[in-house]
């Protein structure tokens, strides 16, 4: 019997998701035995035209990582959707927008200005910015268009499953691949990990006092965190209560609080709003001015509450202009 055809593609991403495939270690051999790759830019030489030549739905599954912020990424996502029976949003950026999604705190004009003009290491006296089409003496040169807003994969194409994480941990990846190969998939739209938040499995949850109540907010860089105690109980912001578990608490075990790369649990659309609501609720101060002071001590609220989820949130980009 012919092996199922698979594509593994990257959009706006860092390459960490590709790395997570390498992290499968010897299990990767099982995967290679079981499937046939049709697109895998980081590892194998296929052309877009190879995919275009396939009949529709020829691919059993496409794993797409990275957020969507250029016309090329959008085009490929749409192409792969057409050619695939299943599309899996692979990793935090495809799932929720991820770190590239934080670009939504600015718009394209501002980003171009910073990247191509105002950074100290840039010399661009003529103020030349990337253009989608440039006429040269050798002919027309084109570049993909960079969008004003970074999108998640499911804002661009229909997505069947989500493999969360920055990057997805090997055990979840392997489980998902096996489930696909064996046809034992949960309901469409599922996030292929735990239904409950991280606290459920976090070893530090037991050290939490019954009543969580904080009087100030500390940054992890300012304190040496107790490696046993719950971060929140110590006033260090940890997104564990708002973030899906299943990650193996890799950050927590390295004594770093959770930053939310697995995204929100099932009922929650806007993870940042949900977490900030919870965090505000445990501020144990009954004085308006004091509440304000504590709130204002939160540095970079978007980067904190929406590190991985800004494009998927309710107000998903900078407003105005």
């Amino acid at each position: 019997m012919a092996k199922p055809l698979v594509a593994f593609y990257w959009c706006a991403s860092c390459g960490g998701c590709e790395e997570s495939i390498v992290d499968l270690a010897e299990d990767i051999l099982k995967v290679v035995d079981a499937v046939e790759f049709k697109l895998f830019p980081v590892a194998m030489d296929f052309k877009y035209s190879d995919v275009e030549a396939l009949p529709d739905k020829a691919l059993a599954v496409s794993f797409i990582n990275g957020a969507i912020r250029t016309s090329e990424q959008k085009h490929l996502a749409e192409l792969l959707r057409r050619k695939s029976q299943l599309v899996v949003a692979y990793g935090a950026c495809a799932h929720l927008g991820g770190i590239p999604g934080l670009a939504n705190v600015a718009n394209r004009r501002e980003i171009f200005e910073t990247a191509y003009k105002t950074t100290p290491s840039t010399a661009n006296p003529k103020g030349i910015y990337p253009q989608t089409v440039t006429e040269t003496e050798f002919g027309k040169l084109t570049l993909p268009e960079i969008f004003d807003t970074v999108h998640t994969l499911d804002q661009t194409i229909e997505v069947d499953y989500y493999l969360p994480g920055c990057a997805p941990p090997p055990d979840l990846v392997m489980k998902a691949i096996l489930a696909i190969l064996e046809g034992k998939l949960p309901a469409k739209g599922s996030v292929l990990t735990s239904e409950k938040a991280l606290c459920e499995t976090c070893a530090r949850n037991k050290t939490k006092p019954e009543k969580l109540a904080i009087k100030d907010i500390k940054r992890i860089s300012q304190v040496i965190a107790d490696p046993e105690k719950c971060f929140l109980a110590e006033g260090i912001i940890c997104l564990g209560p708002a973030t899906r578990g299943g990650c193996g608490e890799r950050c927590i075990n390295a004594n770093m609080p959770c930053r939310g790369c697995f995204g929100p649990t099932r009922e929650v659309k806007d993870m940042g709003a949900r977490f900030m609501s919870g965090l505000a609720s445990i501020i144990d101060v009954d004085d308006e001015a004091e509440v304000k002071k504590i709130a204002e001590s939160i540095i970079d609220p978007i980067g904190l509450f929406y590190m991985y989820t800004l494009p998927s949130s309710l107000i998903n980009r900078k407003q105005g202009e």
């Binding site: 459920e200 209560p241 940042g272 609720s281 009954d286």
Partner: protein, 702 residues
């Protein structure tokens, strides 16, 4: 689902609704008089006048109330707005998880009363008189509690026995009443109407006693019992009419056994028993604050420094005959280092002790040092009498009690005369406050989040529907004098009686419900509950139905939406906002207890506000979800107003502070996204402050 619209005696031109096929629309001329039947599990939208009125007419229905009278017609807004509001309410109800009717079988018609003081005795008497089999348990060997230790009761001045003995006798004459001394609760399980309580009865050491008192004569152990000395085997002339051994003091020398063989058993074992009860009444009485913690007053360190009770007993016994006495008020009370609250009765105790000694020894000079004299009610007469009798009242809080020339001295200022003074005395009496019985309440799984269970008792001021089977009586509720204690005991008896008179109680109060499939037991909700209703039981978050008041603060705290308030779940409100908030609108999410009422007032007072102000009613500002605010803005609303009770006036204690913190953090986020933070405003709007509401929405509309 049905939409019930009222045209208020044909005075309102109701919109023609275009709703789905599953929604039936009915129009009434006077809904308040017709009162159509609504099935318990039916969802309805009632579009008429004030929900404050209609909620009373349709109690316990799963209804969303749309106030088309005051929010549209009276205020002169276009009828299209009424249609939109009704559509939004229908959208909400479609996604609303209905309030489940909760049934509690009253399987046991018995009652347990904890504490054998006057409150417990009175409750037992009242319940047993009314046919309830009642068990009264008392920790010590004798009934009577604090009253049995006193000399006289004030302001009447009668000896304690005049009050206590008739109460005990009434109780004892009831065949349904059983009293167990030396008995405490160890474990409680079950719930309203069906509690199982494990009791431990500690040995009394004495049986078939004839009160001859020979044992006392031979007992070599003498101890001080709050100012009076007694032996390790002793008798209090209340009930039961027999001696008892204080095993904490007894050395088991056996002398008493020699004079009374066969009736004294030093090796008696404790007994464990279990009883069932449908109601439990906590009447554990007064618990004194440990006044030795007020170190500057030297209790336990300086001889002659006494507590009020010790002083009273020593004077009554004739073993104390001072010439000069200083009574220090608020010893550890109204003090942020000790008890921040006023225990209410200590001022009266101080006055009583002054009267007690002056009556016996008119030559005694008594000084009372008090920051304030709170001699409420008829106690003012006592205060005036004592002034006439020459007691010196000093306005001030003494800084120190110290030893001087072998005597005691009190250093204080007097704000009446502006003098600093040192008063030399023989005895210092500390009138200290009282603490709640946290131990008993925690055994009953009632978390006290405030100093006394006053909130637990009174939070339901407007809400008597709680499935509650645990009541408090007397000083366990809050320190009180004898009269207040008896009144409170009768109130508790009535509550328990009306519970136990039913076969089953049914409540439709909306409560928070936790979805265990989503809950990670992160515990963020626990501390946000004003009633201590949330706890971890067997590694799961449990909501105590006897305590949950339905404020929704925990639901909005939960980072996973695992906890949801029935009738106000997030999906419902989300749909309501999605439908209601349109481009350029001001969405006003208002507390049902305060700001919402101001909007009705605005209509009644003919204060106009723009038609783009869309009002949503919530139980508390603490139940307003930042996600919903963002959703409204994302829908195009130009502003969101959250209106609630003023600080410290929140119906649910602290919901408004939670809202404040959420608003502050949300604003930071919005500002980071280039929005004006003041698009979201949390304002305190009292229920009559129509002007304030109108000014705010007009300002937001600019």
């Amino acid at each position: 689902m049905r939409v019930l619209m009222c045209n208020c005696h044909n005075s309102l031109k109701l919109p023609k609704l275009k709703l789905g096929p599953d929604v039936k629309v009915e129009e009434f001329d006077d809904l308040c008089k017709t009162k159509p039947e609504i099935a318990p599990d039916e969802k309805v939208v009632i579009a008429a006048c004030s929900p404050n009125l209609l909620e009373g007419l349709f109690p316990g229905t799963n209804a969303e109330f749309v106030n088309i009278l005051e929010h549209v017609f009276l205020i002169g807004h276009r009828p299209e707005k009424a249609e939109q509001m009704i559509n939004a309410a229908v959208a909400k109800m479609e996604k609303t998880r209905p309030v489940k009717t909760k049934f509690f079988q009253i399987s046991s018609r018995k009652a347990l009363v904890i504490g054998g003081g006057i409150a417990g005795i009175e409750v037992t008497a009242q319940l047993s008189k009314n046919g309830i089999e009642t068990t009264l348990i008392e920790k010590t060997p004798f009934l009577g509690g604090t009253v049995a230790k006193l000399d006289r009761l004030y302001p009447e001045g009668t000896p304690y026995s005049h009050t206590l003995m008739p109460l005990i006798n009434t109780m004892q004459s009831q065949k349904n009443a059983v009293s167990l001394c030396n008995t405490e609760i160890t474990k409680v399980s079950g719930r309203v109407g069906d509690y199982k309580i494990e009791l431990v009865t500690r040995p009394r050491g004495v049986q078939e006693c004839i009160n001859c008192g020979k044992c006392i004569d031979v007992c070599p152990v003498e101890i001080d019992d709050a100012g009076k000395s007694r032996k390790a085997i002793y008798y209090v002339p209340t009930y039961p009419d027999m001696y008892a051994i204080d095993f904490a003091a007894c050395t088991r020398c056996g002398e008493c056994v020699k004079v009374c063989p066969g009736r004294i058993d030093l090796n008696e074992q404790e007994k464990v028993s279990e009883i069932a009860a449908g109601a439990v009444i906590v009447a554990t009485g007064l618990l004194w604050y440990d006044v030795s913690r007020v170190e500057e007053y030297g209790y336990g360190r300086l001889d002659g420094v006494m507590k009020t009770l010790e002083f009273e007993r020593a004077v009554a016994a004739g073993t104390l005959r001072p010439k000069k006495v200083a009574i220090i008020y608020c010893a550890g009370s109204r003090d942020s280092k000790h008890l921040p609250y006023c225990s209410k009765i200590c001022c009266l105790l101080g006055l009583k002790e002054a009267k007690l000694i002056i009556d016996r020894y008119p030559d005694v000079q008594v000084y009372v040092a008090a920051m304030d004299m709170r001699s409420y009610g008829t106690f003012e007469y006592l205060y005036n009498t004592l002034r006439e009798k020459g007691v010196s009242f000093i306005k001030g809080k003494p800084s120190e009690v110290f030893r001087w020339n072998g005597k005691l001295a009190v250093r204080t200022e007097d704000l009446f005369t502006n003098e600093l003074m040192e008063i030399e005395v023989d005895n210092v009496v500390l009138s200290s406050g009282f603490v709640p019985d946290v131990e008993t309440f925690s055994k009953l799984k009632i978390n006290l989040t405030v100093d006394f269970p006053v909130l637990y008792e009174n939070a339901g001021l407007s809400n008597t529907e709680l499935p509650r089977g645990i009541f408090t009586a007397g000083a366990a509720t809050f320190p009180g004098g004898v009269a207040e204690t008896l009144i409170d005991a009768r109130k508790a008896s009535h509550s328990a009686l009306s519970l136990l008179a039913q076969k089953e109680i049914e409540t439709k109060i909306n409560q928070a419900v936790v979805d265990e499939d989503l809950c990670s037991v992160c515990r963020m909700c626990i501390g946000t509950c004003p009633y201590g209703a949330i706890s971890v039981v067997e590694d799961k978050i449990k909501i105590n139905e006897e305590l949950c008041m339905g404020c929704g603060i925990c639901s909005v705290t939960c980072p996973a939406y695992a906890s949801q308030l029935e009738g106000w779940n997030h999906e419902g409100l989300r749909e309501q906002i999605r439908e209601l908030a349109q481009q350029g609108d001001i969405v006003a999410i208002l507390c049902r207890w305060s700001a919402y009422n101001a909007t009705e007032r605005a209509a009644q007072d003919k204060l106009g506000y723009p038609g783009n102000v869309k009002i949503i009613r919530v139980p508390c500002t603490g139940a307003v979800d930042p996600s919903h605010i963002m959703l409204a803005l994302n829908n195009g609303a130009k502003g969101v107003l959250i209106g609630g009770c003023y600080p410290h006036a929140c119906h649910y204690a602290r919901g408004n502070f939670r809202a404040k913190a959420r608003e502050q953090i949300l604003k930071l986020n919005l500002e980071s996204l280039g929005m004006a933070g003041n698009q979201v405003r949390l304002e305190w709007i009292g229920k009559d402050e129509a002007h304030k509401f109108v000014e705010i929405v007009q300002e937001m509309n600019k």
